[in-house]
């Protein structure tokens, strides 16, 4: 959608503002909550709002991932981690001034950096002029796949995606080795009849 030709409709702006306000509110709630169980749930809500924003930005594939991973599975993983450790944050006795200062400085620099960015949706922006036109014009003819996102991820950037799958695989193996083997060994020490099905 070309913003110059069509102009943003008022309803789009209201939806954007509503979602962004909710997003910031959810982020602030996560930071201030001491109850980690509640914080994990609000983080799931944050991801859901983010997914809605991706839909507004027409990035449905990213919205899909955000909703499934961020709001769905990650929330469950967080809750399980909290169940295994403890549900209350330790209260710090002194104010963390240095981290606050560092966060504000980095955040300020990033906002300062956005001032030099091309206008939102600018068709002349370098990102829109590099390889994107080729993908959009030739993608379907070259790959036979109408969904350009899939064509880019799986074919044009296939090597990157192989790397990503390897990262996920490594994460799974890491969790299995660190937590799975340790807890199995501990259980085997407690009782010998337990967990005979899957010794590796």
């Amino acid at each position: 959608m070309d913003p110059q030709a069509q102009g943003p409709r008022a309803i789009d702006i209201y939806v954007d503002i509503l979602l962004l306000v909710l997003l910031v509110a959810a982020a602030l709630v996560v930071v201030t909550l001491r109850n980690l169980l509640a914080a994990a749930l609000v983080l799931g809500i944050y991801s859901l709002i983010m997914a809605a924003l991706w839909v507004v930005l027409d990035a449905v594939d990213v919205a899909f991932t955000e909703a499934a991973v961020g709001a769905g599975v990650t929330t469950v993983f967080m809750l399980l981690a909290i169940a295994a450790t403890g549900r209350h944050e330790k209260i710090a006795h002194r104010r963390p001034w240095l981290p606050i200062l560092a966060s504000l400085a980095v955040g300020g620099l990033m906002i300062f950096g956005t001032l030099d960015l091309p206008a939102f949706g600018d068709p002349q922006a370098p990102a829109q002029q590099h390889v994107a036109p080729h993908y959009l014009e030739q993608g379907e003819a070259e790959t036979g796949v109408p969904n350009i996102v899939t064509a880019v991820l799986a074919s044009y950037r296939g090597f990157d995606t192989l790397g990503e799958v390897t990262v996920i695989f490594t994460a799974g193996i890491g969790v299995l080795l660190m937590l799975g083997v340790a807890s199995r060994r501990r259980r085997a020490g407690e009782s010998d009849d337990d967990d005979t099905g899957d010794r590796s």
Binding site: V73, L80, V145, G158, F169, L176
Partner: protein, 137 residues
């Protein structure tokens, strides 16, 4: 969680459509939004819901950890294997066009196969992480 009748009944109703939807997202990633990664996560979400309501032993019975590890390895190997197959076909690593006489057709086939590799690897890894975290004491 054996007491919660509503949760158990609703989960039993929901889990089959979730798994079916994952397969839909897997096979339609080239036409609509989605793909192997999303499909794998949704499939794992179905198993996670099953585990949350019926216990991790139930998930273990459906998807034994040993089998999951094998599936995760197979997924990555399937992806890399398509790359090697392209090289055998005379192209570069992961140049799917070399898989078939028609480059476009080869590309489409390659994308479908690697998406399946991504899907099964992601589904297996997410389920492994869930089972391990849920049983960690």
């Amino acid at each position: 969680m054996t007491e919660h009748l509503v949760l158990r009944v609703i989960s039993k109703l929901l889990i089959p459509p979730i798994l079916l939807f994952a397969l839909y997202v897997q096979m339609h990633g080239d036409y609509g939004p989605g793909g192997g990664f999303q499909a794998g996560v949704i499939f794992a979400a179905g198993l996670v819901l099953y585990g949350l309501v019926f216990g991790t032993a139930a998930v273990r019975a459906v998807a034994p950890p040993r089998l999951l590890v094998v599936i995760a390895c197979l997924g990555v190997l399937l992806y890399a294997g398509v790359g090697v197959a392209s090289m055998i076909g005379g192209g570069a690593f992961l140049e799917y066009g070399a898989l078939s006489a028609d480059a476009t057709h080869g590309n489409h086939v390659g994308i479908i196969i690697i998406e399946i590799g991504v899907g099964i690897a992601v589904a297996a890894v997410m389920t492994i992480i869930f089972s391990v975290l849920a049983e960690w004491r």
